[in-house]
Assembly symmetry: C2
Homo-oligomer: 276 residues x 2
């Protein structure tokens, strides 16, 4: 049954798979919100997101020929108008520009960036959100989404200086959580946090110099955990305008990396409000 | 003063800096325990480790010429018999084989892998250790050391299937913690954990299927947190032979990555025994 649906690609310059060409060197993000999904787990989440009629649609799938049989169920979850291309390893490597040993790719599109005001207005009465300011590292953005999903956060809010979470590596590191956790990427850091505070969120910035031990944060119906870049960290005006939290550590060391720190703090806050 | 000490390298094939040649494509580990240290923080920790007379010695330093002035204090911390080479950017890039924008390298050596029995016998009465089984990803091994340092763990124990933490990327991701947290990499997983159990350690393996919530682990004088690979995780015989812990998460998701999970669990255990 799946066999009928597979479309063979025999030349790497076939225009039907042009979006997958040399994917290491360029990113599609910014081209009408298109993105590359890699790997079986992300492919499955893209199929589910498409079927749910939410923010994401699948446009095409490209598989290593010998992977198709094992992915029959996921392929069947895509509607019939999503073409599923297959290619031999030599052709696929020629398309993407390197050896793609997992052999599972898809082209997706985010319908539109939501309006931030409307997005925040839709958050539930009891809400835990993760906000990132100036996170430009793709791995860190991806890990933040993975942690947000693991601990049941209601949304991820990124300021406009964060990198796009639909970048190939960020999406891969998130293990597809970018497709499942609602998010916005708008506004500068101060405006974003002010918009959250206006909606009743207790704002807690995470910093090695934070005033409150993460184990002593007071519970609240709406809580926002804010993380900044490694190195410089959050600007002082943000730390002093809102509450600040620290993860207690052995003295004299570099702080934890932002992925691990956000995981520890989200776990503490999710425990506090009984999300986990 | 530092100026007198700097030795100019003008050709990338100069034999005095041969160990730094094409460092991306090969690793020195295994060649008499030599390793490449990168970046200012790791360079400083290597100087401190050398001065302390412990497990590590510095053999030579190689800097981008224009970085030397800013590193005067760290350079002075190396004894006079450690040569400090400098090169212009074009020469340095020719040596290492890519554009090294940070421009700070050193060659170090670990004196010897300690005997595992003697190493474990030296652990303090009250001890928290992090053990890794089958961790082959360099980033994850590096993150484990960074977390162990942050939460005051007394040692990291790696089974013989883990990658060497002195690999260039693991050392870099650890932000030099591999040079500060005592460690061993010996034995298979079962023998390593048995050796810990024989010395009174409560053994807690971390797994999404763990029996005990991480927030309910009973305190003990000696505790070992055990983490396995992502994906397969720890073998079932290990999970059932010792205690197992889970980090509670939203249902139906992929588990946290091993770096984040080890950070969360170490923080919980370090809190329990008042290390932080």
């Amino acid at each position: 049954m799946t066999g009928d649906r597979l479309i063979e690609i025999t030349h790497s310059d076939d225009p039907r798979i042009a979006e997958f060409r040399n994917i290491r060197d360029r990113d599609l993000v910014g081209r009408e919100n298109r993105f590359i999904a890699e790997g079986t787990v992300v492919l499955r989440l893209l199929a589910e997101a498409h079927a749910a009629g939410g923010d994401f649609v699948a446009e095409k799938v490209l598989l290593l020929r010998n992977r198709a049989a094992g992915l029959e169920e996921i392929i069947a979850a895509f509607p019939p108008d999503v073409p599923v291309y297959v290619a031999e390893a030599s052709v696929l490597d020629g398309i993407v520009g390197f050896h793609l040993h997992r052999g599972v790719l898809a082209l997706g599109r985010r319908k539109a960036e939501p309006d931030i005001g409307a997005f925040l207005d839709r958050l539930p009465e009891q809400a835990l959100v993760l906000a990132g300011c100036g996170i430009s590292n793709h791995d860190n953005v991806g890990s933040m989404f993975r942690n947000a999903a693991a601990f049941g956060a209601d949304a991820v809010l990124l300021d406009e200086t964060c990198c796009d979470p639909l970048y190939r590596k960020a999406l891969r590191v998130s293990v597809g959580s970018v497709l499942t956790v609602p998010y916005c990427r708008q506004l500068n850091d101060a405006d974003l946090l002010t918009a959250l505070a206006e909606r009743g969120f207790a704002i807690w910035s995470l910093s090695p110099r934070g005033a409150v031990d993460i184990r002593a944060v007071p519970p609240a119906d709406r809580m926002a955990l804010v993380v900044g870049t490694e190195g410089a960290g959050l600007p002082q005006e943000i730390l002093s305008a809102f509450g600040s939290l620290r993860i207690p550590q052995a003295p004299g060391l570099d702080s934890l990396n932002v992925a691990t720190a956000s995981g520890i703090a989200l776990f503490a806050m999710a425990s506090l409000i009984k999300r986990v």
